[in-house]
């Protein structure tokens, strides 16, 4: 059978939900960040799939995917810097124990 747009969208949905489950349940802050990267990647897959199946000559989805990558790179740099700063102060990166700002 030929591969259609739906295959890519379903794969993207599966990867997104795996990432969502990990981001909701994990306690290690680095793993949470990794799961967020996974979700951003799955969104990129669906953007590129839309771009090449629905508007194959415009490439707008690929341009959008590039901007998502830019934001993801900035996000992971700042996120890991925050995790290192928290680790230096608390010597812990367990999301359950980082509750200084919890009301």
């Amino acid at each position: 059978m030929t591969i259609g747009l739906e295959h890519y969208l379903v794969l993207s949905a599966v990867l997104f939900c795996i990432g969502l489950y990990g981001a909701l349940t994990k306690r290690n802050a680095v793993i949470i960040l990794m799961c967020i990267e996974l979700m951003l990647n799955s969104v990129n897959i669906s953007l590129v799939a839309f771009s090449s199946y629905i508007v194959p000559l415009l490439l707008t989805g690929q341009v959008f995917a590039i901007f998502v990558m830019v934001v993801a790179a900035a996000e992971v740099a700042v996120g890991l810097a925050i995790i290192l700063a928290i680790y230096r102060g608390l010597t812990d990166i367990d999301a359950n124990n980082i509750n200084l700002m919890k009301w």
């Binding site: 794969l11 949905a13 590129v48 194959p56 490439l59 690929q62 900035a74 890991l80």
Partner: protein, 162 residues
């Protein structure tokens, strides 16, 4: 036919690698599993004839972001062995499963307007024309440059030793 085989291989490996990120006990192995997932996503971009994005995926994700993540794991290593879950396992699983069901239902029920043309290839020159031309995305590109500059400065300030 070859494209279909490539898609199925990439899809199965990507899903297994993503599950590995969640279920592997060792944090370092979870990071390596994430790298494998990034590589298969680059392969999926190639099957979608997005060659430039596949190269960028390898350079940015496999080359840079994974190194950052592994560096962070190594610097926070002695705190935590394994990747434990919190008490929200069952509610989170229900939320993820319901969301997955809704998304698959919507995707399969929608009648997509598939274009007849085959996608552009190679995409590098058309993408550059899109990004840098007057009528294209030159303003977002410059804003993205400002965002990266702000992120670099923020990361340095936050992570610096006092």
């Amino acid at each position: 036919m070859g494209l279909a085989a490539a898609f199925w291989i990439m899809a199965v490996v990507a899903v297994i690698a993503a599950l590995g990120v969640i279920f592997l006990r060792n944090v370092f192995r979870a990071a390596l599993s994430l790298v494998l997932c990034f590589i298969t996503v680059a392969g999926l971009y190639i099957t979608l004839s997005a060659d430039f994005l596949a190269a960028v995926q390898i350079l940015v994700y496999v080359g840079a972001i994974s190194v950052l993540i592994i560096l962070a794991i190594m610097m926070t290593r002695e705190v935590q062995q394994g990747s434990p879950s919190n008490k929200m396992k069952v509610p989170a699983f229900i939320v993820a499963a319901v969301l997955l069901g809704i998304m698959i239902y919507t995707v399969t029920k929608t009648s997509w307007q598939i274009a007849a043309e085959s996608p552009l290839t190679p995409t590098t020159a058309p993408l550059a024309a899109k990004l840098f031309s007057e009528s294209g995305f030159i303003l977002p590109v410059e804003i993205a440059a400002m965002l990266i500059l702000a992120a670099i400065l923020g990361a340095i300030v936050i992570a610096r030793e006092k």
